[in-house]
Structures are given as structure tokens and as C-alpha cells.
């Protein structure tokens, strides 16, 4: 996963697997792999396992882990790099044209712009 290091600019090998990121993650209840697990798998180059879990898509870059990581790793940048690796194959996580009109009707622009920036190619 040299690509993760290149896109994120972060040294994922610095992770010492303490789990502080997972402990404070506001999305932890719905994650199929914890942030700590993602850091481990990315250091091992296990792209397929990461692809099968929802974690990188559920991460909303809230930066709670980034301000707490004792090794100073910007974990949201690592998550973004992995999203980018999949999105750059031109595969969207959500398809905007399949979202029902009644859902989009009262969505502020700020929701749509941020969501489509993060979840579409």
C-alpha cells in the first residue's frame, strides 16, 4: 500500500496499535473494522479486506482520532487516501441519481456537496 502513503502523505508504519483512535471514534458502533484495524491492515497491504468493510466510508473526517493519536498520525488522511484509491477506479460509493427526490428535497447544499465530494468519483 505504497499508494496510501503517497496520497495521504502519512507514515502509517508509525502506528503502534494502541487503539486510541477506535476508543474515541463517534462511528465505532457501526464500523465493521475499527480504525485501529484499518491502520493495521493498511500497513500489511490488505486492500481487499479494507474494501469489504464499511469503515472508510463511515468515517466523516471528524478528526477526533487525529487530535488524540499519540503518534501524531493524521488518520482521516489515511482514510481519505483509501477512499481515493477506490473512487479513482471510477466506482462510486453512492449513486446520486439513485437517491429519491423526496430525500434530496430539503437537503441543504452543504450536505450534498460534502457527501458527493467524499462518496463519489
Amino acid at each position: 500500500m505504497e499508494k496510501v502513503k503517497e496520497i495521504s502523505g502519512e507514515n502509517i508504519d508509525k502506528c503502534m496499535q494502541c487503539g486510541t483512535c477506535s476508543g474515541g471514534c463517534p462511528m465505532i458502533d457501526v464500523l465493521q473494522i475499527t480504525p485501529r484495524g484499518i491502520m493495521h491492515l493498511s500497513a500489511l497491504g490488505q486492500e481487499q479486506k479494507i474494501a469489504k468493510a464499511n469503515t472508510i466510508w463511515m468515517c466523516a473526517s471528524c478528526n477526533t482520532c487525529a487530535v488524540r493519536c499519540p503518534r501524531g498520525i493524521d488518520i482521516p488522511k489515511v482514510m481519505e487516501a483509501m477512499r481515493q484509491i477506490f473512487l479513482r477506479k471510477n466506482v462510486n460509493y453512492i449513486e446520486p441519481n439513485q437517491i429519491p427526490d423526496e430525500v434530496l428535497e430539503d437537503m441543504p447544499q452543504i450536505v450534498m456537496v460534502s457527501c458527493f465530494r467524499k462518496h463519489t468519483a
Binding site: 496520497i7 471528524c62 488522511k77 453512492i94 441543504p108 447544499q109 457527501c115
Partner: protein, 293 residues
């Protein structure tokens, strides 16, 4: 005093209650927020990919407009715009190579080297007005109002652009106290509301929203104050769905901090646009004799 102002897209439509209350309240404090002659969407989220400079063009272009108008500071009230603009500004300031590439790419624009300071309105109120002076200007203190600040993510994280401590922010507490309100601390007030997952994975967002709302209610808050149109949409417009699905269904009104500022300074309440916010917001303030029913 005149100062450059970047509203952002949502403040011109579904969050005009945030825009109009901010502009009117600052006028009461003798500060004219001068909207940029030209501006574009900042992108809403800061691009975290190191090799993706294209998405930095939009926020940097906005900062160039500020520089072109002769200002060295720009005020934003939207938390997400603040975060995106301030981080893009730091990128330009700290990365010489990327600064060169961006300036070369935008060849028709003025060269930009990070001359502009991106300031959130709360920071401006703290540093340029001061809580003491703000308190003196209050004509309708919010004395009977028990309100809980909600900071969310983008005001206090990451550290290089944080307007206050990431773990124990006080700035909105101090602001609300200056308005005379009774501030109710909410430990979940620094947690993520789920952000744009409200569109792609609503249940994940509902669970977070329920936690934020129910903790505030359990601690005795009558309302929540925020500064982000995305948080306000989730915590205000979607709180009923969230608390019915994950909690006890109790709800409470939500406000933008600027609406409360405007109320306390005696601004005409038509500019608060309570009709587009939480359905109980006007009712709560009317019950405290702060606005007409």
C-alpha cells in the same frame, strides 16, 4: 469598522437565518460585514489527499478575492467554510511547492501567498469585541434560557486551525454567558453529528444525533446553539427521526449562535427567520419574553 465577509452557499438559501442574523447583529456592534464582490463554494470539505491540488483551487480563489478587495482578514460564520478556508490557507502558507503550482494554475488571478487571515465570527467576537464589551451591548439578556453549546468537529479540529481546545472548548460557553444565558455543558457537544452521513447512511447519523440531543436534555438544556448549517440540519430538522429511532423521542429547539446574539442585541426578529429553523424555536424565546409570539 468594515470587514470582509464570506457567507458560503448554504447561508444564501436554507441557512439564511444564519446569514441575516449575523449581518444584522454585527451591524448593532458597529461592524459592517462586507460580502465579497465575487465568491464561490469553498468545497464544503477540505481535500485531505496530498496529490489532489485541484480541490484547493476553490477555497484559495476565495482568499484571492479577499486580497483583491484590499482586506487582510475574512470572516466566516459557517463552521465548515471556516475549516476548509483556514486549512487551504495554511496549505498555501506552509507548502512552497504547492503554492507555486496553485499560483501558476490560476494564472489570471493575483498571486496568493497566504496574506489573508481566516477568522470565525466567534473568534472575532472574543478578540476584537471582547466578552465584557459584548455584555455591555446586550439589551435583552437571555437570563432565563438554559442553553447548551454544540461545537461539532470543524471549529476545533484539527489543531492547526482550531478556534479553541479540541477536548474542552469554552468559546461558545463564554459567548452565551456574555449574552446572559445559563450555559448547560454537554460532554457530547464536541462529538460528530454524523455530518454528510445524514444523506448516505442516515441511521449512523441518527445514532449520533440522538446522543447529542438526549445528553443535552438530560442535563437540563432547553435548547442547543451551533454555528454549522450541516449540524443544524441534522440536530434541528432531523432530531425527531433520530430520537424516535434511538432514544425516547424527546426533542428541543436549536438555534444558530448568531440568532441568539441578534435576540440579545435587540435586532428585529424578522431577520432571525425562525420560520425556517426548528419549529419550537420562536415559541421557546416567546415564553421567555425575548421575542414576540
Amino acid at each position: 469598522m468594515k470587514i470582509a465577509y464570506y457567507p458560503g452557499c448554504t447561508l444564501k438559501t436554507s441557512a439564511k437565518n444564519l446569514n441575516d442574523s449575523a449581518v444584522a447583529a454585527m451591524a448593532k456592534l458597529g461592524v459592517e460585514l462586507v460580502e465579497l464582490d465575487r465568491w464561490n463554494c469553498c468545497g464544503a470539505v477540505y481535500s485531505l489527499a496530498d496529490d489532489d491540488l485541484l480541490h484547493q483551487v476553490a477555497p484559495v480563489r476565495d482568499l484571492i478575492r479577499v486580497k483583491d478587495m484590499g482586506y487582510d482578514k475574512v470572516i466566516t460564520v459557517c463552521s465548515m467554510c471556516y475549516n476548509t478556508l483556514a486549512r487551504a490557507n495554511n496549505l498555501v502558507r506552509n507548502d512552497e511547492e504547492k503554492r507555486y503550482t496553485l499560483n501558476s494554475f490560476m494564472e489570471e488571478e493575483t498571486d496568493y501567498n497566504g496574506e489573508v487571515e481566516v477568522v470565525h465570527l466567534l473568534t472575532f467576537l472574543k478578540d476584537e469585541i471582547g466578552w465584557g464589551k459584548l455584555k455591555e451591548k446586550v439589551t435583552k439578556p437571555l437570563s432565563d434560557l438554559k442553553i447548551s453549546p454544540y461545537y461539532g468537529c470543524t471549529l476545533t479540529r484539527p489543531r492547526d486551525i482550531a478556534i479553541d481546545s479540541a477536548d474542552n472548548p469554552r468559546i461558545m460557553h463564554d459567548f452565551l454567558e456574555a449574552l446572559g444565558a445559563q450555559v448547560v455543558n454537554n460532554p457530547a457537544g464536541i462529538e460528530c453529528c454524523g455530518s454528510y452521513q445524514i444523506l448516505s447512511n442516515p441511521d449512523a447519523a441518527y445514532s449520533n444525533i440522538n446522543k447529542i440531543i438526549s445528553t443535552a436534555i438530560n442535563r437540563g438544556a432547553e435548547a442547543i446553539a451551533s454555528s454549522c448549517p450541516l449540524c443544524e440540519f441534522s440536530l434541528g430538522k432531523r432530531q425527531k427521526q433520530a430520537t424516535e429511532k434511538f432514544g425516547d423521542g424527546k426533542t428541543l429547539p436549536t438555534f444558530y449562535f448568531t440568532q441568539l446574539l441578534a435576540v440579545a442585541l435587540g435586532v428585529d426578529d424578522a431577520l432571525m427567520h425562525f420560520e425556517i429553523g426548528h419549529e419550537k424555536s420562536r415559541e421557546l424565546l416567546a415564553s421567555k419574553n425575548l421575542v414576540g409570539a
